[in-house]
Symmetry: D3
Subunit: 131 residues, 6 copies
């Protein structure tokens, strides 16, 4: 039975990026289910659930940090989706990437923009999906 | 004569952290004055001056990125001041640091908090300074 | 009242590096006490408390990672102490540092060795302290 | 004729990951054969050949460092194999990854787990290969 | 109308890697055209256009930095081409990669060599292209 | 008795930065003398001794990489000295730092410039030393 912390974290994940969380948890199921639990409990249940920053602000700083670090493409794309789902516009995400050129260099900014482009394009394809 | 871009950048620097910009430019004067110019023109005149994010949001993502990278203590402290001057509360800065534990690990978060503590303490000392 | 997870984490911290944990928690008390709680609950209560690796092995991999990352000197020194308290010899710690030259370069290895030297020297000074 | 250091290094490589070393050396043959030599001589002949840590411990700290750095996926997978061949269990490798969440953040841990899953799956496929 | 700085930057880009710049600018066109402008104006028009280092030297230090950072493969490959176009030999590029083993570890050097091999092979295929 | 590789490495170290090498080896003597040996044998005897790049070029790429990594201040300062002793001018070193703003961000460039300023100032103080 999931802990109260996990429930709280899952509620937040359902708001910001349910598909990505679902995909991650399925992947981890057979090898490290405790890592899914720590993601839900600690990352979302303990940290994102805190008052003091809005979810939109939390996703913005995560997108900034992952862009600057430049070595976690799957998580960056997942949080670009999360940022959009939390109220960021596409242009705001692009602004974050551009600013990271100042703090982490142009390659980090360019690779961030390319990740954003991929996410934005996939979302548009889904929206116009006739099915 | 400073370029229009430099003027625009300096205006922003005067809003967010005039003392720190002044100190940096003095330090660079004798060795690499063009770097001061690039900071004013590109970092602030081209990037921070853009619409699309508020200055408060720009400082928040900078604090997040520098905390996650963990190797630029002087700039992190300077942007903690900039975040406070742009409308962030101390608690919001602490929230950013805590969230970086999720994306860059606990040492990065702890060192970020220690930098914030140093900045907050220095500001309080100045405020209560009888002079 | 501390959670069961925090209690479990504190028990481990008392084994591996009580002084350093105490110092960290005192520093964080006035600014971010929740970070102390997360260190105790998540880092030690959830992770270090797991079976599957010995505490000595856990400290060895932490020393390796912090040496390779090269940007968290206070935490590196604290975990060198933790490694010694968990059963590592000084020579084993030096071997870890040397091996990091292969994966993170010579500067990381040299700076790791210098941190170890500082820790080893301070411990010897304490041991021979006549008081 | 290979140096004594290279021979010593190759002996260790044959124990821990002969296929991966073979593949690397074939790749480097036409472009930078001296790099193969330095890998054999310095990385394995000088460092891994040292007493003071077991091969299993050496592979564990390498897996930890590469997971924390998060930017060398081919080498991480190769050393996950090396760790298994040196006496680590799959569960011990997972524990290393989980612990890296504390020192390098959750994305590093998740990407480490995904690399491990890929390695474990490929090994199982080979074991049950009817040929 | 492009600024004088952009013109100056584009002139340099045309010398060192016109195809890669073209490809990047096409990619950015629909999502962040200002980033193309900043690349042309700041990176090339302000920095590469400076006297004091030759273009060959500028490409060499860029290849070194990107190899050491190890998290920007597209940019590394693009600057390996730029280094060759600025007067570096293939062997000089290999020497840079080998030296990075000392400062960033063997995985960084090996991944740099693999990027170089890919670039060198593609260029040879083009040269011998019967079309 | 030092190996031929160590002799060759020490010859190069005597050309580029004898004081810094001496200081490092003294520091390592009591704790990890083998690391001094690896520095002399591998870093300098195997790598820097190779033909294909001049010592000045080797020092330039090292200064670039260490500036971009931003987490090895003692080694950066030591190689700024090495670059000057190998034929770089102060202005060339400053150019390297400025260019790193493009690839690693402004904080890395600024901290690199500050390290250079410290080295340049100390050298001028020595030159004018009346003793």
């Amino acid at each position: 039975m999931p802990s109260e912390r996990a429930e709280r974290g899952m509620d937040i994940l359902r708001q910001i990026n349910p598909q990505s969380a679902q995909a991650l948890f399925s992947e981890l199921e057979s090898i490290a289910p405790d890592l899914s639990r720590f993601v839900a409990e600690f990352a979302y249940g303990d940290i994102y659930a805190r008052p003091g920053l809005t979810l939109r602000e939390r996703e913005m700083i995560t997108v900034a940090a992952l862009t600057a670090q430049g070595n976690a493409a799957p998580q960056l794309k997942s949080h670009i989706v999360g940022a959009l789902n939390s109220g960021c516009t596409e242009q705001e995400i692009i602004e974050i990437m551009l600013q990271m050129a100042v703090y982490a260099g142009f390659p980090a900014a360019i690779n961030g923009i390319m990740a954003a482009k991929e996410v934005f394009t996939a979302r548009k394809a889904n929206e116009t999906d006739p099915a």
